[in-house]
Symmetry: C2
Subunit: 237 residues, 2 copies
């Protein structure tokens, strides 16, 4: 066993495509061996964070779904983009127009959303309609300094019924239309990984990120000084 | 009058935002003075081409709508992206999956669309649904060499009820998701302007392009050696 591997004290696990494939009845299916793997990681004494860009549900709903699939997981162990975005909105007095999944809206319950001065985009799925995209675009183009905050920048992900466009594709559409650059909250943003490490109390040199996305999981973690592993499940092709 | 202006023999006119604002009942409203302007250009003996990226209708429907608004225009005077795309599809034995407006489909009547080996995207408007974008994405990502042909690359345009995202925004979404570059047919592609000039029989030095889009109309025409004027109607802000 390599010296660096012996030094590992914490693991960051991506969830969709690593622990389960989302979609369909019941919200998804576990990937073979993953329930047992989480159990063994926890039994080993390694610190563990679930580091997800999923924004189709509140953390509570997300955790409940995973518990239903058999995973040993709690809300306190999850690092997700919406709470990180809420911190930024509060710090900067930003009032968002939300282009997100209906089930994510409760995460923004305490945020003032009147007279929006920014747009927050997440994986809105069916809410990515022509009308909703035009609405978000019109708000942005009407702002003196358009602020677009994107919950992740993923290209696509795998659901049980096939690949789906992720928030990054729609972020690019709005960026292009408005000639702006979105601010990304979530993987691969450095601050997002740093939060997860701080929550574990483990320095980057002693942590490993495990994910199925070469850019958002592997690249993002490496830029923070972590090692990273890409699994061949999920969107891996 | 400047020497170059005396040498002008042909005009290329953008249509949406220059001659009329599209949308609403009756398909749009003429911009003040534009019906008369077209009449006077024709009476002056200048050659004229209507050079449009509009892809929400066949040329026949498009011309009928403009005639209904009072314009002196015929199908033979219109340069539009769909016929240009059809020439390319035939030359390269490409069988398209169409992500376009329902009313544009007849322009592709003679094109083999079985077992698609490329995607053609136009201003699909309401057809830009989450499901349709996922379908186009899945076809592209499943191709060995994904070919995406985009009928224009406009950012947005103005309709009577406000600004709308144009095909370019959705083109960018698919480009990003698939990590590819679309081939643009229509303005600002050089070949598109060259076709319009050839159809008029006027060299670029003796032609002026008039449009409301600084990139697609003005920039595209200038790269072909034409002069160009930007009007302050339409999407001009």
């Amino acid at each position: 066993m390599a010296a660096w591997a012996r030094a590992v004290r914490g693991l960051l696990l991506d969830v969709s495509g690593v622990l389960y494939d989302s979609g369909g009845e019941g919200g998804g299916v576990p990937i073979a061996g993953s329930v047992e793997a989480v159990r063994r990681i926890k039994a080993s004494g390694l610190k563990l964070r679930f580091c997800t860009n999923e924004t189709q549900a509140t953390r509570e709903q997300f955790v409940k779904k995973l518990q239903g699939l058999g995973f040993d997981i709690s809300v306190a162990e999850v690092t997700a983009p919406a709470p990180a975005a809420c911190r930024i909105l509060k710090e900067r007095n930003l009032r968002p127009h939300l282009l997100v999944h209906n089930d994510l809206v409760p995460e923004f319950a305490e945020i003032d959303k009147t007279n929006p001065n920014c747009v927050v985009i997440g994986d809105a799925a069916e809410n990515f309609s022509y009308a909703n995209l035009n609405e978000a675009f019109r708000l942005l183009i009407g702002m003196e300094k358009p602020v677009l905050i994107s919950l992740g920048r993923g290209r696509y992900y795998k659901e049980t019924d096939g690949l789906k466009l992720d928030v990054g594709a729609y972020m690019k559409a709005l960026e292009y239309a408005c000639d702006i650059q979105a601010e990304v909250v979530g993987k691969p943003a450095k601050m997002f990984f740093e939060s997860a490490l701080a929550e574990m109390g483990v320095p980057p040199q002693q942590a490993i990120m495990i994910g199925d996305d070469i850019v958002n999981d592997v690249g993002g973690a490496q830029r923070c000084g972590m090692r990273a592993l890409q699994v061949r499940t999920g969107k891996y092709r």
